[in-house]
């Protein structure tokens, strides 16, 4: 190997190590919600990082490394799930949750004028584990876009590219996933006695 080639290989390796080191908390955060347990999440991250290094030559722009690695992470997740014979389609979808609004359940407009803030108090009481449980309960189709959009901050177009689906599909899966997630948070609050079930009000009453 020539000196220039060795320098290039060293630079490439150092760059990869630095980028992966920077992304580990993001990759692990996403993997935990996809795999839903620590052992599988660790395997998933290690698998994705190994695949990223093996296929680094296919990365066209270093600036797109984050999305590229997350695409690999998702692909490895799908692949691992298939090999475990877990069918995403078998997970139930709550049809009633399609238009669910947590705000409508929590909001009490007459209190606004007295300075009370029931929806703020509701969010204050939400624990990290409540949110994790609600995300984990989503069917995989919706969980994936919620993880990429809400947890990792990818744009609709980036998610569409990453999953190879139309942007409109990303938008609708996000909307349905968020509605179902809010329904799960509400149901948990009712079950835990934090709230009592109340009739739903709808937005747009102007």
């Amino acid at each position: 190997m020539s000196g220039a080639m060795m320098e290039h290989a060293t630079d490439r390796a150092s760059w990869f190590e630095a980028e992966v080191g920077r992304l580990i908390p993001d990759l692990y955060g996403a993997a935990l919600r996809l795999a839903r347990n620590e052992a599988d999440a660790q395997d998933l991250v290690a698998d994705a990082v190994g695949n990223a290094w093996t296929h680094l030559d296919t990365l066209q722009e270093r600036s797109s490394f984050r999305g590229w690695v997350f695409r690999i992470l998702h692909n490895r997740f799908v692949s691992q799930r298939r090999s475990a014979h877990v069918q995403a389609a078998q997970e139930p979808y709550d049809e009633d949750a399609g238009a669910f609004s947590l705000f409508d359940r929590v909001h009490q407009p007459f209190l606004l004028w007295w300075g009370a803030n029931p929806e703020g108090e509701f969010l204050d009481k939400l624990l990290r584990e409540d949110l994790e449980r609600a995300v984990d309960a989503l069917p995989e189709t919706f969980r994936v876009v919620v993880v990429l959009g809400d947890l990792q901050g990818f744009t609709y177009q980036e998610i569409a590219d990453l999953l190879t689906i139309p942007v409109g599909t990303v938008r609708s899966r996000l909307a349905r996933g968020r509605a179902q997630l809010q329904r799960a948070l509400w149901d948990h609050a009712v079950d835990a006695g934090l709230r009592t079930s109340a009739p739903e009000r709808r937005s747009g009453d102007d």
Binding site: P25, F103, H107, L112, L123
Partner: protein
């Protein structure tokens, strides 16, 4: 609920656009339409703040430092890849 000056959208339209507004996915004119509406409508502002806070709390789930032992093993694994003494992704 809102003054009909400039181009002012109504609550129903603002709430239809709210998710994309909070995701920063609207065109500049649409973004300004929603922003103006929220500045003038207390009810929609409350809803937007609720959704914004919930979104921020979800975002906090996105970063998780793994256990130190796993981080150390993963960094060691990456070094083995990049220095050519290992080609596979096996962690254990």
């Amino acid at each position: 609920m809102t003054d009909e000056n400039e181009r002012t959208i109504r609550c129903q339209e603002a709430m239809r656009l709210l998710a994309a507004y909070l995701d920063d996915e609207l065109t500049r004119p649409e973004h300004l339409d929603v922003e103006r509406h929220l500045a003038a409508c207390r009810s929609c502002f409350s809803r937007a703040e609720f959704e914004r806070r919930l979104k921020a709390q979800l975002s906090d789930l996105g970063r998780r430092e793994p256990a130190p032992e796993f981080s150390a093993r993963l960094r060691g694994l990456v070094r083995r890849f990049t220095r050519g003494s290992d080609t596979g992704p096996r962690l254990s």
